[in-house]
């Protein structure tokens, strides 16, 4: 038997926490939580080997350890640096870190297109949050942005390479979750891109999870493409008995009325896929994600908890108490007469057009 791992005392932004040896600074900060935790675009705790790419989690180590109290000469990536006993870390208390992070955000945005009004990820995009919280207002970049053509990775996943920030999360997901990875990074430097060889389809029953791990809108669900904005759909926790033994069947449905517009895995406060009730990471299979777009397929548990600061919370879905209908009581049980059925006038949300059941984005032909 090996000895139990010793606990290291580490102080992050003047808050001391004890973590087992081998923990990264990022994970130690996440134990404290709140603003102390550095943002991370590429690190994903559920994917081995992720991290170290995006540099948004840079922190200053002002005291190396109890034995060697010298500060580290440069800012370090907290997702890749393990804690030492007595280490002192500065994150939001260090102006150097805040300045460096603003620069990193600027670099990430250099080639990122300003197409948030079109992008389906808007509203739950980590890059949007990052640039709001840590970025600067303007851009100093004057040159043409790098562009790629949009690519269909199979019939359910859309790749917008222009939006990609090269976090490699989707590559790790495909490596660790599926039997055979079919996509990866081609080319180097500015030309680097996520691609499949000769436009091969991504066909694997867990490949849909790359949509969930993508921090930006580079990989999006084609069955949800342009159907609705994220903040107009109601997130609901639901589950079903999935035949696939690797799939937990515990998902989040994004509904509007009775229509299921999108199915995703459940996310935790760091935007990562949550642990399912069986203790494993709650990855979901493609059948659950793409094919079960009927509310009857699911057992609905109730509205999901959404951070109050998220735009998705604008619908105030949680804890809604419907006012008691007094009219039928007063009218001896009769329902009040409807003066105008909105569907008789409105062209939007017609009962005859079920956009959620389309497997592709809606076209002008669907509204004829």
């Amino acid at each position: 038997m090996s000895e139990p791992t010793p606990l290291f005392k580490v102080t992050i932004d003047n808050i001391t926490v004890e973590v087992p040896a081998g923990t990264t600074i990022l994970n130690a900060a996440r134990q404290i939580g709140g603003e102390v935790a550095p943002p991370a675009m590429c690190y994903y705790s559920k994917l081995q080997g992720s991290g170290g790419k995006c540099r948004t989690c840079l922190v200053e180590v002002s005291k190396g350890s109890e034995k060697d109290p010298r500060p580290m000469p440069k800012l370090v990536a907290s997702c890749r640096t393990t804690v030492m006993d007595g280490m002192e870390v500065k994150n939001i208390t260090s102006p150097k870190v805040l300045d460096a992070r603003a620069s990193v955000v600027e670099f990430l945005l250099i080639n990122h297109p300003l197409d948030c009004p079109i992008c389906d990820q808007a509203g739950e995009c980590h890059l949007q949050d990052l640039s709001y919280e840590h970025g600067k207002e303007g851009t100093r970049y004057e040159f043409q942005r790098r562009t790629f053509h949009k690519v269909d990775l199979g019939d359910k996943i859309q790749l917008h390479m222009t939006r990609c920030i090269m976090c490699f999360r989707c590559v790790f997901t495909a490596d660790q979750l599926t039997d055979k990875r079919e996509h990866g990074i081609l080319d180097r430097g500015d030309h680097a891109q996520i691609a499949t060889f000769i436009q091969k389809n991504l066909q694997n029953e867990f490949i849909g999870n790359v949509i969930d791990v993508c921090p930006v809108g580079a990989l999006t669900d084609k069955t949800f493409r342009f159907k609705n904005r994220v903040w107009f759909t109601k997130p609901v926790d639901a589950h079903r008995n999935c035949d696939n033994p690797k799939c937990c069947g515990e998902v989040q449905l994004w509904m509007r009325g009775d229509e299921v517009f999108r199915v995703t895995a459940r996310k935790d406060e760091w935007g990562e896929v949550k642990e399912a009730s069986n203790g494993k990471t709650g990855w979901i299979c493609n059948v659950c994600r793409f094919d079960k777009k009927d509310a009857k397929d699911w057992v609905i548990e109730g509205p999901s908890k959404i951070n109050r600061h998220s735009v998705i919370a604008q619908g105030h879905y949680e804890g809604v108490v419907k006012p008691q209908e007094t009219l039928p009581e007063v009218l001896d049980g009769r329902q009040p007469k409807l003066l105008m059925d909105i569907h008789s006038v409105s062209q939007v949300n017609k009962p005859t057009v079920e956009l959620s059941l389309l497997e592709r984005p809606a076209h002008s032909t669907d509204f004829k």
Partner: protein, 177 residues
């Protein structure tokens, strides 16, 4: 009962004098006020013939804008709908098909766009929220209607005339000729 303030006035119930009783003096006083007003400036205008000018910040009926090539600017991003405090705006988005590039500016567009003028409070927040310069509040107001149905404004009511194919209509709508 003791008065709470000293502003209360006791009602005077004295007998009216003869001059007060015949009301003649009061009638003459009232007539004089009426006569005086015949020479003052009239605060009202004769509406259908004369129209009052709107203030430069007037917020009236919405229009959906097109760009200089006549393509619709709206991409159905939903920011106007989320900014709308009255929840008057609804929309449905669609993807542009090949061959529709002359109709829509970006790959996504609003296939349906509706403003419920019964709900709208003309606050102008939609105009402020729009990242694409697509919605503007013009300097007219919504015409009256006998039915509720007439107040659901769709894209056919809101879009400005195409500056390429219907330049004359656009100039007329702007009041240029």
């Amino acid at each position: 009962m003791q008065a709470l303030t000293n502003r209360a006035k006791a009602v005077e119930r004295r007998k009216m004098t003869f001059l007060e009783r015949i009301y003649l003096w009061n009638i003459i006083k009232g007539m004089w006020i009426t006569f005086k007003h015949m020479f003052t400036k009239n605060p009202t205008i004769q509406y259908p013939e004369k129209k009052r000018e709107f203030s430069p910040v007037f917020r009236g009926l919405h229009v959906l804008n097109r760009d200089e090539e006549g393509r619709e600017r709206c991409t159905a991003c939903g920011l106007c709908a989320v900014a709308c405090p009255a929840e008057a705006i609804t929309m449905e988005a669609a993807e542009r098909l090949p061959g529709e590039e002359n109709l829509y500016r970006e790959e996504k567009y609003a296939a349906k766009y509706e403003i419920n003028m019964l709900r709208c409070i003309f606050c102008g927040l939609c105009e402020e929220a729009c990242p694409k310069d697509a919605i503007y509040l013009s300097e007219t107001f919504a015409p009256s209607n006998f039915n509720r149905k007439g107040f659901i404004y769709g894209k056919d009511n809101l879009l400005i005339p195409n500056p390429v194919t219907a330049a004359g209509d656009l100039a007329k709508a702007k009041g240029l000729n």
